[in-house]
């Protein structure tokens, strides 16, 4: 199958000298559901933002759908970006606008400059956004301010906005880190189902090892900017986990034997 995304020896060094990514290489094909795991500061967030060039990389090449992302500027870059939906930990909605307007923001990449500025969306787009909201059980909130919603609902709006882009790839940056356990489960289920149904490849940054093991078809383990594991969840053994997190599996599972250290490992 044709790869959608290909990292070729990508590295990123920040101006303050921190090496966030070092020689990262992997490919992603259609329909994959990939979790990126690793302790804080291991470069997960940088990895995601390198894909749509929210952070420019300093070495190597990111190939997105056959185009090298780092060479693109202006309109070409925007055309690439609209193929990639993104979901954020803090939802990143415009809270003073309506839920529907926030969902329609997903179409901005497809619209002419002036039409987008004034928010003159086509009726087809609006209908599609309404359908999407119904699919996410949000239709009754369409005309509420986004600030009125709960955390889980806000994240569902974030998903709707990303799906509105009709993306080939979905990037999720800690999508459930600010949510309570039950909303987190809803969001993860939704992500998996929507991605599967629309055949969208999904890359999810996760803090929670158990969630990653349950949902993904493939796991990438990052440690200090380097890929230390890349494979299906079944192959992720205790030794590898220790190499990724620098601590044993028991210490990562809350309520396990080393439960008193679990928090420090989770929040590290």
């Amino acid at each position: 199958m044709e790869p959608i995304l290909k990292f070729d020896n990508v590295s990123k060094q920040y101006p303050n000298g921190v090496h966030a990514l070092e020689g990262v290489s992997f490919t992603v094909t259609e329909g994959e559901f990939i979790s990126v795991i690793g302790p804080s500061g291991s470069g997960k967030s940088t990895l995601l933002r390198a894909i749509n060039r929210l952070i420019p990389i300093s070495g190597g090449t990111v190939w997105l759908d056959g185009h090298a992302v780092s060479c693109q500027r202006g309109a070409a870059l925007r055309q690439l970006r609209r193929k990639v939906g993104m979901i954020f930990q803090n939802y990143n909605l415009v809270y003073s606008l309506s839920v529907l307007q926030n969902v329609l923001h997903g179409r901005l990449g497809y619209m002419g400059g002036i039409k987008g500025v004034f928010g003159l969306y086509s009726e087809e787009d609006k209908q599609e956004a309404m359908d999407l909201l119904e699919e996410l059980w949000l239709e009754s909130f369409a005309y509420n301010r986004a600030s009125d919603l709960s955390g889980g609902q806000k994240q569902r709006v974030g998903i709707a906005r990303a799906i509105m882009q009709q993306p080939k790839l979905l990037l999720c940056d800690e999508p459930i880190a600010s949510l309570d356990p039950s909303s987190a489960k809803t969001i993860m289920d939704l992500l998996r189902d929507m991605a599967r149904r629309r055949n969208i490849a999904c890359i999810v940054n996760l803090h929670q090892l158990d969630v990653a093991l349950n949902y993904s078809s493939r796991i990438i383990g990052l440690s200090k900017g380097q890929v230390v594991f890349d494979g299906p969840p079944e192959l992720l053994d205790d030794g590898t986990i220790e190499r990724i997190y620098g601590t044993s599996r028991e210490n990562l599972m809350m309520g396990g034997r080393g439960s008193d250290q679990a928090y420090s490992a989770d929040c590290a």
């Binding site: 969306y121 609006k126 209908q127 309404m130 119904e134 239709e139 009709q166």
Partner: protein, 287 residues
């Protein structure tokens, strides 16, 4: 792609039902996108601002043609200001020092006065409503009149010198402090004051032992903020007739001594910038 795929969804039926309930297929009618409850005040406010501004500009009858035709001269003035002339440095330095000193002195005196009057103006210290209202409204009046006016009047009755500057600046600064300190004092929970009242402490001892210490950090913050304002106010006092760096600036500008004026303006900028940075630093460290 979305069409075929949504066909397959089980919720398609639900959508169809909903769509007919909304009336029609939904393709014909325009779907609104904006919030149900949005702030309808903002558009009205913006219209009001535009109308008022247009009316103001018409009323001012500014001769734009003349103004714009002289714009190139600004470049010339800046060019000359850029040729810094350090020959009058001793005069500039001494008047800058005087300006800074006046700013600091007026700040310190006002700090003391502000605490006293703030005590009178706060509702929870003496619990005399008429006293608070009287103090508050008197200082509201003093605050509403710009500082240079007070300095001018002080110049008239005290004569040239630092006294007029300090006294004039004190009027406005004290008024400002009175209001802010009274606010800080009033932010202390009533329960605390009541608890002390129950011990039989006098009003004054409650103030000095509970209310003032609790507000101390805010008082320091207000004072730091005010130093910035006081310096820039003090720098302009010279321009309306008092001494200090402002006098040097206006005098040398009027005497076409642009080099000296340039140095003085640069120094005013540097001191103001320094105070601002210092304050930002202090704020970061203690809050």
């Amino acid at each position: 792609m979305s069409m075929e795929q949504t066909q397959a969804l089980p919720l398609e039926k639900r959508q169809k039902l909903l769509r007919t309930a909304h009336g029609g297929t939904g393709k014909r009618t325009r779907i609104p996108v904006k919030c149900r409850q949005r702030n309808r005040f903002i558009p009205r406010f913006l219209t009001g601002v535009v109308v008022l501004t247009a009316a103001s500009l018409l009323y001012l009858e500014i001769d734009w043609g003349k103004l714009i035709s002289r714009v190139p001269d600004i470049g010339g003035v800046f060019w000359q200001l850029g040729h810094l002339d350090f020959s009058n440095m001793d005069l500039i330095a001494s008047s800058l020092l005087e300006t800074v000193s006046i700013a600091v002195l007026s700040l310190l005196y006002s700090l003391l006065l502000g605490i006293v009057f703030g005590m009178l103006a706060a509702r929870n210290v003496f619990r005399l409503p008429w006293l608070s209202v009287l103090t508050q409204s008197f200082f509201t009046f003093l605050r509403a009149v710009p500082t240079p006016v007070w300095v001018l009047l002080m110049l008239v009755c005290l004569g040239m010198g630092a006294e007029a500057g300090v006294a004039g600046l004190c009027v406005h600064t004290t008024a400002f402090f009175t209001k802010s300190f009274a606010q800080s004092f009033e932010s202390i929970p009533d329960e605390t004051v009541e608890a002390l009242e129950a011990t039989g402490a006098s009003r004054l001892s409650i103030f000095f032992n509970a209310i003032l210490p609790a507000a101390l950090s805010q008082i320091v913050a207000w004072a730091g903020m005010r130093l910035e304002t006081n310096f820039s106010e003090c720098a302009i006092l010279g321009m309306v007739g008092a001494g200090g760096i402002g006098y040097v600036i206006s005098n040398s500008l009027q005497g076409y001594d642009y080099g000296t004026a340039g140095v003085a303006i640069l120094l005013v900028f540097l001191v103001a910038y320094l105070i601002e940075r210092m304050f930002v630093r202090i704020k970061k460290r203690f809050y």
